[in-house]
Amino acid sequence: MRERLFPGDRIAAYVVLVALGLVTVLPLLYMIVLALQSDAEVQSGDPVLWPADLQWGNFTRLFEAAPFERFFLNSFVMAGAITVSHLIFDPLVGYVFAKMDFPGKRIAFVAVLSTLMVPFFVRMLPIYSIFASLGWIDSYQGLIVPFLMDAYGIFLMRQFIKPLPDELIEAARVDGAGEFRIYLRVILPQCKPALAVLGLFTFVFQWNEFLWPLIATSRTEMRTLPIGLTLFNQEYFTQWNLTAAGALILFVPTALFFVITQKFLVEGIALSGLK
């Protein structure tokens, strides 16, 4: 039988959970309410919990006021390209550290892991200066290149590949498969769950990235969604309904992420210890 901490402890637990759950969800739901309000409702002092008329036209007005389709495209290109790059390089490097023996392995691994400690601020100014002289400000390569791979992903993949049986590799080698072929045909197919976690997290984090796109772009048509939305809000600061509509567009990948990952989300984060 279940022990009780105090009479009604179970109810108390649910009260806490529901209260904190509401504090978490209500602001996000209010974003939807706000996005569909009329300008008058946004300006009025009344607590509008549901708009009198749902103003779907706010989305049209948003796209007329600023090039949100372009912001969306830029974010998609940046997050997508970085995700593809991570999916190519993180498992490859992780495999080398998990399964190969070579002189310099220890020092190379420590060097990669040490980059975990480096705040982005320390890389930011030199990379900015170099990219400025290359003419890479306001370019896709400028947005993408600083994040092509990272130690989190490499470490995650190494941890996943390490317990895979060596016999798989040996057998393929006996069959005369080349080293890269072994990686591609034998190792990678075993990594699907880890690759799914890596890909989803990389995409969402890069989609949300704020600091670098703020610095690496100056022309409106090269802004990513988080930056474009923040600057849009500074310009149209009274039209919170339009800002909220833009925020909903920015929220789409996060929402999709939760739909896709429902089952393994919490375990996935605990497993990877992602920032």
């Binding site: 080398v96 980059t115 705040p119 030199p126 890269f180 600091l211 996060t254 919490v266």
Partner: protein, 283 residues
Amino acid sequence: MTRRRQALTAWLFLTPAVLFFALLFFLPIGNQLLTGLYDSDGVSFVGLGNFSRAFGDPEVLHSFLITLAYAAGTLVVGTAVGLGLAVILNQALPGRTLFRSVLLIPYLTSVSIVGLLWRNILDPQVGILNRLLEAIGLPGQTWLSTHPLATIVGITVWSGAGYTMVLFLAGLQGIPSLYYEAARIDGAGPWRRFFAITIPLLAPTTLFVSIIGLISTLQQFALPYIVTGGGPGNATSLYAHRLFIVAFNDNDFGYASALSVLLLLVVLVLSLAQLRIGDRANA
């Protein structure tokens, strides 16, 4: 396969990574260490001048102190909330998977959304919070003016509590249930078991949560940038925000580099402390 061939293959596979980390991590860091020794023109060598300037710069000292206050506040409140949630959601409660996922949503939501949303909610004139307060006859709040830093702490905890919870849940699941059963047989009640087993055995997790929390809060930039713009005055101009202003408003890259080197030093010390304590905990 010979050892020699394996070594060649390994380094061949590593070539893109070697290039990437050399060019986009180690080269910039080295460059930063050097740039910090030069004046804003990038030509005049000033030695450690930028560093001694930082220690005497009231703006920088202010930003450093409020960053410490911000980090401490976030750490204490965030850890308490995260641990509390983890303990509750570690029980076999119906619906716990749903609660776990829901509480994680803000962590994966763009900081632009989080910042703009809360700025709107808390806005004294048009914000929904004051509209509701006034509708039930309570005075409105002006927290972003009266308690700006505490408000930023609150928003940070709001967006990070789910992640802290997940880390604590992983820690809780690592405690062998055997310990609890043994304590129960010895007659220890639930509170006693919590303080005598859960808290001490969670110590490594708590430490991990604290140090990664510190490292990330010391670098916090986007949230105050979006919510308050560092204001009112410079009340929420955290260290990273100051660094950003020195670099991109004052265009003083030499000084900004020195400031970023100081940030690196603090983060390195914290990270190494984490590694050492982690080793001791595992030993």
